[in-house]
């Protein structure tokens, strides 16, 4: 009798307790997400808690870093039919397409188009492009959207406002034209400062800036025509692109040792106020904050070298998640990713991790520097969305050629001729 009374009180108290909580009890369902983003782990776990409280569905974020090991695990898991409900594919679009063709990735187009394409329209269109396969794509993948961008990234120029002021320039007006950029270079020697730092030792960053200027000088169509082999690299416009690097070197704008510089060194130099400019990605906001929280800097598009075409920068989806098409929880996984990419969750992720949100409505809730990186998405492009890709030996010769120009070993004309020779060799092989 006494126990019965005690039990009744306990049951009533529990009912009150649960009624008082707005969260739903654990439904027994769970979703597993494999990711590689060490710095986003605490934020993901916090969002998982919020999602469980809202829906009763438990989300397990499982971290496998570094990214190389993560990729190996995903590949092995695909072979062993052990892929989780949600995962990411790191690498080229070719790898992505092979996973789709093997039936491992769910086509998200129907979900994206629901409610007048509400989900699709919430993203920066260029962020979605990386996960999209269009009609007649060269990978022979059925057209559709196969991934959800979690964040975006853009690569542009940053400048140190204090040093810029020290050199006698307006700290709120970064260079707008290539001539203005070179003018800063001419003042650097007297001030004993380094100019532009970047990870040009990891040559893809040279390729990135060179492509930006190629788009600006000759336009996208001509760049694509060159990749297709219809325009030679010896064309006057390409020589103009290569000559820009010679001009930058001659003006004193480039930091000493830039051709062998790794990006980590470049980031240290810029964060420690030893360099005025850096060419870096939006991830650098997080890096600079860690190295020097007091650093005053701004982001801007690489200054135009021509008025003929708009400037382009590399950008797009930073990290994306895919859904396992064979998962029994795929519907729940879709709902979770849809929730994760809604404005409040995206704003929280951006604030907690300093990564740019993929949801375009979230950018008014982020810092000025981050917002200027995000706004540059309008100018973003990426080789993955061009539909054609250049031969690797050609890219290597082009980038190494620029390094030779910077160290004064070769002229732009010589490099252009050498690159064209390799291009013709590769085209002949393909035929």
């Amino acid at each position: 009798m006494r126990y019965g009374k005690f039990l009744s009180i306990l049951v009533i108290a529990s009912l009150f307790l649960f009624a008082g909580c707005s969260s739903k009890p654990y439904s027994g369902k769970s979703i597993t997400v494999w990711h590689w983003m060490t710095d986003r782990e605490p934020a993901f776990n916090e969002l998982a808690k919020r999602y469980e409280a809202k829906t009763g569905i438990k989300v397990n974020f499982e971290l496998y870093a570094p990214s190389d090991a993560y990729s190996q695990k995903v590949r092995a898991a695909a072979q062993g039919a052990n892929l989780p409900d949600i995962f990411g594919i790191l690498g080229e679009k070719r790898d992505f397409s092979s996973f789709i063709k093997a039936g491992f990735i769910l086509n998200l187009t129907p979900y994206m188009l629901e409610d007048n394409a509400k989900w699709k329209n919430s993203f920066f269109s260029k962020a979605l492009a990386v996960n999209e396969f269009n009609d007649g794509n060269s990978y022979a993948v059925a057209p559709g959207i196969y991934g959800v961008p979690i964040d975006i990234m853009t690569i542009q120029m940053v400048y140190n406002k204090s040093l810029f002021k020290e050199l006698g320039f307006n700290p709120n007006r970064p260079p707008q034209t290539f001539e203005e950029l070179l003018a800063v270079g001419k003042k650097l020697k007297a001030a004993n400062l380094e100019g532009l730092v970047s990870g040009w030792g990891e040559i893809w960053m040279i390729d990135c800036l060179a492509n930006n200027y190629a788009f600006n000088i000759m336009g996208k169509d001509k760049v694509i025509a060159t990749i297709k082999g219809e325009v030679p690299y010896t064309d006057a416009d390409w020589i103009k692109v290569l000559s820009l690097f010679k001009q930058m070197q001659e003006s004193g704008l480039l930091a000493s040792g830039i051709v062998t510089m790794v990006n980590k060194t470049a980031e240290q130099l810029f964060a420690n106020e030893k360099a005025v400019f850096a060419f870096n990605g939006s991830w650098s906001v997080n890096v600079y904050k860690g190295m020097n929280p007091k650093l005053e800097y701004g982001a801007f598009l690489p200054p135009k070298a021509s008025d003929k075409y708009p400037m382009a920068i590399w950008g797009g989806a930073g990290s994306s998640f895919m859904i396992n098409a064979r998962s029994k929880n795929k519907e729940e996984a879709v709902k979770f990713l849809s929730w994760l990419t809604e404005t409040p969750q995206q704003a929280y992720l951006a604030e907690a991790t300093n990564n740019l949100p993929a949801n375009k409505d979230s950018i008014n809730k982020i810092s000025d520097v981050m917002a200027s990186f995000a706004k540059a998405m309008d100018y973003a492009t990426h080789p993955n969305v061009w539909g054609v890709s250049e031969f690797s030996p050609v890219i290597e010769a082009f980038d190494k050629g620029i390094q030779s120009i910077i160290i004064g070993e070769k002229t732009p004309e010589q490099v252009a001729a050498e690159v064209q020779k390799i291009k013709e060799r590769e085209l002949a092989k393909k035929r």
């Binding site: 570094p66 990214s67 190996q72 590949r75 092995a76 240290q268 420690n272 650098s284």
Partner: protein, 282 residues
């Protein structure tokens, strides 16, 4: 005739040059360790500004934070269990196999031995997918047993090679004497071969312990459950895609090298013997 002073001066100058050279080598070896300890006591901001070995402000709390944030307690225990289990497994299997390759006669002995040696040349990354699928079929994926078996397999070929080289040089008379005393083949291996092979076993222990202690890629592949991961995985927590928390990483690294450093110190005598006795021939 040259005076004693001349020879003394010559010897002293030779000694100075040799010692200077050795000192340079020693400093080169020790400096990364010093830098690691020094960085573990700095902040994320000062690590890129304060280049001194002894930082102006010592942040010992980095060690506490690394231990807590990295969840070192559990991972440390996991690594310890994996290392001990793998090293014991390797010692037993490789010493038996090496003794058999060295002393017993059986068909295909040389071919099997060369297959083992060839396995040394294959990097483990090359067999990741095959290993994953195999463990999956055996229901050993995401289990400590699966990981331990894989790691034993990784260390076997080199260990067999080292021990066989030693057993080949061991005088046969010792075994004959043991046989006269009534020892079986297994008894000879246990009572004669193994005790004599102590220096080589020390090399095998240190070599494999280091290998298992520092391994994490195979662990990431095999384990899905984080609580089963080894210590090195905890260190990755401090390395972001773009941002690395250096002070915590360095504090974590300092903690993680302590057991291996102790093992080296404890087995130093045997390792030197092992090396000088030709344990690492070839």
């Amino acid at each position: 005739m040259r005076s004693t002073i001349y020879y003394k001066a010559k010897k002293t100058s030779e000694n100075i040059i040799i010692h200077l050279f050795m000192l340079t080598v020693a400093v080169t070896c020790i400096f990364p360790l010093l830098w690691m300890v020094s960085s573990s006591l700095k902040t994320q901001e000062t690590i890129f500004k304060d280049m001194s070995i002894i930082p102006k402000a010592l942040h010992f709390e980095n060690y506490y934070q690394a231990w807590i944030q990295g969840g070192f307690g559990r991972y440390f225990l996991n690594s310890l269990i994996y290392t001990v289990a793998v090293v014991i497994g390797i010692i037993i299997i490789s010493s038996l196999a090496a003794y058999a390759f060295s002393r017993l006669k059986f068909p295909g002995k040389n071919i099997i031995f060369f297959i083992f040696i060839a396995a040394m040349m294959i990097p483990i990354q090359g067999s990741f997918v095959a290993l994953y699928v195999l463990l999956n079929k055996l229901h050993l994926r995401n289990t400590p047993v699966g990981y331990i078996l894989c790691m034993i397999n990784v260390g076997l070929s080199t260990s067999i090679f080292l021990l066989k080289t030693f057993f080949d040089k061991m005088p046969k008379e010792l075994e004959d004497a043991a046989r006269i005393d009534g020892c079986s083949k297994f008894g000879i291996w246990w009572n004669v071969a193994l005790p004599l092979a102590k220096p080589v076993l020390a090399v095998v222990v240190v070599f494999n312990a280091l290998n298992v202690w520092n391994e994490f890629i195979l662990a990431l592949l095999i384990f899905d459950s984080r609580p089963l991961m080894p210590l090195q995985v905890a260190l990755i927590t401090f390395q972001g895609e773009f941002v690395t928390r250096y002070p915590l990483l360095m504090a974590g690294l300092t903690i993680s090298i302590i057991p291996i450093l102790l093992l080296y110190v404890l087995m130093q005598k045997y390792i030197v013997k092992g090396v000088t006795q030709g344990a690492v021939v070839g």
